[in-house]
Amino acid sequence: MTELLFLLPILAPIALVLGATRADSYGRIFAEGARSFLKMLGAIILLCIALQAVLYVVPLLF
């Protein structure tokens, strides 16, 4: 879990770079970056929930 916290900051530069490829001013770059960051964070959380669900359901089937 703590290792995951070390990996999460890597999302910030990825989001900023994605934002800067879409916008041309500081304000819009950071707004786009924040939107990308939240989208990625949401996707990761959903993926973790889905994985946990699969890990709980599959053993029940067999």
């Binding site: 703590t2 290792e3 070390f6 990996l7 900051p9 890597i10 910030a12 530069p13 990825i14 900023l16 770079v17 934002g19 800067a20 490829t21 879409r22 916008a23 041309d24 001013s25 500081y26 819009r28 770059i29």
Partner: protein, 144 residues
Amino acid sequence: MTGKRPAPAPVLLAGWLVPGGGHFLLRRKPQAVVFFLAVTLTYLAGMALADFGNVSLERHSYYFLAHIFNGGETLLAWLFTQGVLEDHVPTHFGIHTGEIGILFTAVASLLNLIVMMDAYGIAAGLKPGPEAPEESATAEVPAP
């Protein structure tokens, strides 16, 4: 943007040498600054997490294939950290951070590839640039 647009090859080379260098040549200063800070700080953070022993062709040859895309910083890191011996496991806050550091530097270098391609696309006229959609959105619609 006013003035003559630089040729794609120097823009690509500038982006390879310095993250955001291509955008600087294209006079897109905010983008150049953000790209430089995002890539360089991630790269440095990765090196610090791995105790400055992760940019090495001998020790991490596969990751070095990713580092190649961040040419200038990788060259500097390789020159200045050649003598660093990886005789211990890098540990910060009780966690082995060596692999995490390698991942950080590799991701920063691959991000620079995206940055280089973005600058090349703008210089070659393949990408309209961020201001173009706004211009088209605010363009007057001719009366029927």
